[in-house]
């Protein structure tokens, strides 16, 4: 199974101001309650929140930059640094935990040589453990971009990475 490429494929190419403006143009201006959906749109489009986009979002939604910074660092969904082409989301939910997700996650960390929340230097893989994917029947489970991998052990997790080319 070939995982679909994430929108973050070209994430480390910093988007221009006009690209950011284009990504958020459909949101009403001067509506502070739209900050989170706007940030979600930017995250979705570029795979991260480029720090340079904060003044643009601030101006659009009429919310101060420091408030936006406070919001985006509060929610786990947002990242200020670019992500890799393949986003690995191993689940550390309860069902996965009791079925050995810790070993799977440690193994991924070892073979990729990165910690949770980090990206490999070639921007191929990012590792981001999640609290629960809601697929407890697949435990231990992982998502790579939009695809699910279930009943993992160290070996199967390593094999899943081989699908990512």
């Amino acid at each position: 199974m070939q995982p679909s490429a994430a929108p973050s494929a070209e994430a480390h190419n910093r988007p221009t101001d006009s690209q950011v403006k284009d990504a958020i143009k459909n949101f009403k201006t001067n509506n502070p309650s739209l900050v989170i959906p706007i940030l979600q749109a930017v995250q979705e489009k570029f795979g991260y929140i480029p720090p340079d986009s904060l003044p643009i979002i601030s101006h659009h939604a009429n919310v101060s930059r420091n408030k936006i910074y406070g919001i985006l660092t509060f929610y786990a969904q947002f990242s200020l640094i670019p992500k890799g082409k393949y986003l690995l989301k191993p689940c550390r939910g309860t069902a996965c935990h009791v079925k050995g997700s810790k070993n799977v996650i440690n193994h991924l960390k070892n073979i990729l040589n990165i910690e949770d929340g980090q990206t490999t230097p070639n921007y191929k893989f990012s590792l981001e453990t999640v609290a629960c994917l809601g697929t407890c029947f697949l435990a231990p489970a992982m998502m790579i971009n939009q695809n699910y991998y279930g009943n993992l052990d160290e070996k199967k997790a390593e094999e899943a990475l081989k699908d990512c080319e």
Binding site: P32, S33, L34, V35, I36, P37, L39, Q40, A61, V63, G70, I71, F74, Y75, A76, Q77, F78, R92, G93, T94, A95, H97, V98, K99, G100, N103, V130, A131, C132, L133, G134, T135, C136, F137, L138, A139, A141, Q146, Y148, G150, D153, E154, K155
Partner: protein, 624 residues
């Protein structure tokens, strides 16, 4: 979509749908949501291909449904009208099913559910389904969630029609109150009472929010309902909005559930096109519309005041109550927040009457509850049962017991706010009060079964790690207390705990519980409190013997092979990733502890239960 202008048109529409529906037609219901993770869409495509090849397109219909419940057998299909259930399918099983079940009515036995060497082809006879009573999940797995006609045909939107055609808002509230339904999100507050409060506050603008921020690890029923029957949630919201006088609503759904987001968004769009949302609904003058809001990954947003802050575009931090949202909620207006499962039950209560609903369940807990069964249990999946059934019935009769012949140790209920109940509580009837008394909570309904190779101290550490990460940081007891608790529990799991630490941990747990601002902090110590209550011996083993009896905490044990049980089958040696196991065929093997990384694969693979954790200091003795 056809626009419906009046209550009568809805009735005609439904009758028309029933007339054109051939109940005898052969249908293949393919779970296309949860089972996607196990290639369900490929199975669906294979059915389409084979049906086309065999020129059966006019005779057989494929319905892409939501969750059918028995996730352990994913990917699953149900064949109607025979009611035959197949699971664990691969693409190559598809021609068999078409040839046998669809052309004759014979079941393909090896694809059927089996238990204790019995095969159960028919869904209604399968022990997993038999004791269940489906109200919330009445349509899940039977209808195509992206087709509102399927929902209307099964009496969808008739409940809101009934409410609008003769019931006053107060009548609706009375009916819901009489049904006895309590909030299914976890706290168990009576839904009717909540509506009554909100109805009592006079204001031109009121809001109705559906809480779909299902953050408890181990719970996935809200996801299943939003994916499998989103219109039932919309209808529940319509009824609630009518009862309290709200004109706008939000469905707050986790972004981690992409299918739920997609299907609920689509359902809102369809309902709007059909005139079931928007202005002058069904010509009655009632206005209500819904916006979908995606969560952004913060567990605390399941708490209602934090959820409101998040919708308002702020950091999701709770605030002290009162005032309760019913008085001053979203943008300071009266607001009701109900959980997905609660809302999905409402149409059924209005349509069938409160008495029918209140007949189910116990004195204090009426109706049915959906549980997400996961962990060390054979039949993982979603089950809906009447309140009052026992844990044993759920875990052993429906769930099929513990796999690999291991022993049951505990069931973790209610996620990070809940607790672990040991075997002595297996016969506890499930209702809000008795579960609480036993030391857990009903919570959202996650049920994680733990077996003998799970360490209870590690489970407590796991939840402290979770809540410590998810604490929003606003109040000190939760922000610092959970951090200190995590450090203390970690001392146990790493062998550095000292005498007196159990008492200190207990005292701190109670302070955090009693002094935190919101539900997250007040319930965060529960996993520690409940494991200290029932599994104190495991804490003591970690403390006094520096030994983890379950073989989980890696600093505190080594694996050793019992030479009396080992048959020399070599399975462990073949599977060991670091080649730490050696031995001759048919002779007892040994583990080189210097090489062993304690991954536990050998324990999983050994069929003779010959590998067990031993305390580090005893190792030499056992080797001899």
């Amino acid at each position: 979509m056809q626009k419906l202008h009046s209550l009568k048109e809805l009735q005609y529409f439904k009758e028309e749908l029933l007339r054109s529906y051939d109940g005898k037609k052969k249908r293949i219901l393919v779970c296309s949501t949860g089972c996607r993770a196990r290639n369900a869409l490929k199975i669906r495509d294979a059915f389409y291909t084979v049906i086309k090849q065999e020129h059966l397109t006019s005779e057989i219909e494929i319905i892409e449904t939501g969750c059918q419940g028995l996730c352990a057998y994913a990917p699953v299909v149900t064949i109607e009208p025979h009611g035959i259930f197949y699971g664990k399918l691969t693409e190559k099983d598809v021609p068999d099913i078409i040839a046998k079940t669809m052309k004759t009515t014979e079941a393909v036995n090896h694809l059927c559910y089996s238990e204790n060497k019995n095969t159960y082809p028919y869904l209604k006879e399968i022990p997993f389904f038999k004791p269940q009573k489906k109200i919330v999940l009445r349509n899940c797995g039977y209808i195509n969630p992206t087709n509102p006609e399927d929902y209307v045909r099964r009496n969808g939107y008739l409940a809101i029609a009934k409410a609008l055609s003769g019931m006053k808002p107060e009548d609706v509230i009375n009916e819901v109150t009489k049904s006895g339904i309590r909030g299914r999100g976890g706290a168990g507050f009576p839904t009717g009472l909540k509506w009554k409060f909100a109805n009592g506050y006079k204001n031109d603008t009121k809001y109705f929010i559906c809480n779909g921020d299902e953050g408890d690890p181990g719970a996935f029923m809200d996801r299943a309902v939003l994916e499998g029957d989103p219109h039932s949630v919309i209808e529940g919201m319509l009824i609630g909005a009518y009862a309290i006088g709200a004109t706008h609503g939000y469905i707050y759904v986790r972004a981690e559930y992409p299918i739920a987001v997609e299907y609920s968004t689509l359902a809102v769009k369809h309902a709007r096109e059909m005139g079931l949302l928007g202005e002058n609904i069904l010509g009655t003058g009632f206005n209500f519309d819904i916006t979908i809001k995606q969560g952004a990954g913060a567990f605390v947003c399941g708490e209602e005041t934090a959820l409101i802050a998040s919708i308002e575009g702020r950091r999701g931090m709770p605030k002290p109550r009162p005032p309760f949202p019913a008085e001053s909620g979203l943008w300071g207006k009266p607001t009701v927040i109900n959980n997905v499962e609660t809302l999905a039950s409402i149409p059924q209560i209005i349509l069938e009457g409160s008495a029918a609903y209140a007949q189910l369940g116990t004195q204090g807990s009426k109706g049915t509850k959906v549980f997400a069964l996961a962990g060390k249990v054979t039949n993982t999946g979603l089950v809906e049962v009447p309140m009052g059934i026992t844990l044993r019935q759920i875990i052993f009769d429906i769930g099929g017991g513990i796999p690999h012949g291991r022993a049951f140790k505990a069931v973790q209920m209610g996620g990070p706010s809940g607790g672990c109940l040991p075997a002595e509580h297996l016969d506890t009837p499930i209702d809000y009060e008795s579960i609480k008394q036993a030391g857990a909570i009903m919570g959202s309904g996650g049920m994680i079964v733990l077996d003998e190779i799970n360490c209870m101290v590690d489970i407590a550490r796991y939840f402290m790690d979770f809540v410590q990460k998810e604490s929003c940081g606003k109040c000190v007891p939760c922000r610092i207390g959970t951090k200190r608790m995590l450090e203390m529990v970690t001392r146990f799991t790493t062998g550095t705990a000292e005498t007196g630490d159990i008492e200190k941990l207990q005292a701190l747990a109670e302070s955090v519980r009693d002094s935190s601002l919101c539900g997250l902090g007040q319930t965060a110590p529960n996993p520690v409190i409940s494991t200290l209550r029932y599994f104190r011996n495991e804490y003591e083993a970690h403390l006094n013997d520096k030994f983890c009896p379950a073989g989980v905490c890696k600093e505190l044990f080594n694996y050793a092979i019992n030479p009396e049980k080992c048959t020399g089958c070599t399975v462990c040696a073949k599977n060991c990733p670091v080649k730490a196991i050696t031995g001759e065929k048919k002779k007892a093997h040994t583990i080189d502890t210097a090489k062993c990384e304690l991954c536990g694969i050998c324990v999983e693979k050994c069929k003779f239960n010959a590998i067990a954790p031993v305390p580090k200091k005893q190792l030499n003795h056992i080797k001899k």
